[in-house]
């Protein structure tokens, strides 16, 4: 893994300012995807800005009947929350259908949105991948094309 600096901001504007100063930096939530990609050499941030304890880990009821989910809410808490289970069961079931109990305990809601594709070629530096290296080609078109994700 390439060396990197580690920072924790006091507040959200501070975290944004830190990232602005570190153009090759990345926000760190639970790290379940980012740390893995860093081990593989796919992600090479020079600074990690830890926002896990900075953003909300609460699920709030809103006046219009909806909920606001904090970026630091772990996947496991979100899936188990009674409001989500009763009012948004697809969200709960989708979370429980992915990863494992140990991963869901670490993974955050915000991090989930920033998760990169699970495509095997994206994670393999020895193969071309347009997403990892724009213009290098897409190995998936003629290759193994299961376990992809829609986003990322």
């Amino acid at each position: 893994m390439k060396p990197f600096g580690y920072q924790r901001a006091a507040d959200v504007p501070g975290a944004v300012a830190m990232l602005a100063q570190a153009p090759h930096g990345a926000f760190l939530g639970g790290g379940t995807n980012l740390v893995d990609l860093m081990k593989l050499g796919v992600a090479t941030p020079d600074t990690l800005i830890d926002v896990r304890r900075l953003t909300s880990d609460q699920i709030e009821d809103l006046p219009d009947g909806g909920v606001r989910i904090g970026a630091a809410v772990p996947n496991s808490d979100l899936a188990a929350d009674c409001r989500i289970r009763w009012r948004y069961p697809v969200l709960s079931e989708a979370l429980l259908s992915g990863a494992s109990g140990q991963l869901r305990n670490l993974a955050t809601t915000g991090g989930n949105l920033l998760q990169r594709t699970r495509c095997v070629y994206f994670q393999d530096l020895s193969t071309p991948c347009n997403k990892r290296e724009p213009g290098s080609g897409c190995s998936e078109r003629e290759g193994y094309n299961r376990e992809l994700a829609i986003f990322g």
Binding site: G31, T44, D46, L96, G101, Q102, L103
Partner: protein, 184 residues
Amino acid sequence: MGRGPWPPDAGEGGIVDAEIMLRVDGAGHRLVVDTRTTLLDALRERLGVTSPKKGCDHGQCGACTVLLDGRRALSCLALAVAHQGAEIVTAAGLADGDGLHPMQRSFISHDAFQCGYCTPGQIMSAVGMLREAEAGWPSAVSADPKADEVALDDAEIAERMSGNLCRCAAYANIVPAIADVARR
């Protein structure tokens, strides 16, 4: 991608060290780690706590499972520097002196392992999993995901323990070992 070190206080080769404190199996430790150090490597290589095992090192096998601030988590994907002050329990710290934890005794009495490499992770995952079930957390196979209480049948245990792989395939005894503790 050949990027220069940042922040500027990085040492030779861009390596950045950070001082952290961890509580492991009840004992406090202060140590300086390279920011790249995972909790698993901090435990095994720096503190000599070798019960969490390095299997895949990519979050897929569960051999490195510990309780991190009371919840089961993969120590191979957690950066030590991001868990300053964390309370960690490993399989080595579950026992009360010479008195083994009920989950440890159940794994022995059910012969729930062969080579034993995945066992500390299996046991820590099972302990964390039972807490989650007690809290009423549903799983992907729960018949009624809205139910307040969880009935841990074999299918529930297998699903909830799916993050722990056993290359010896001792699952046929692991599931009954966990079920036995769950019934108590």
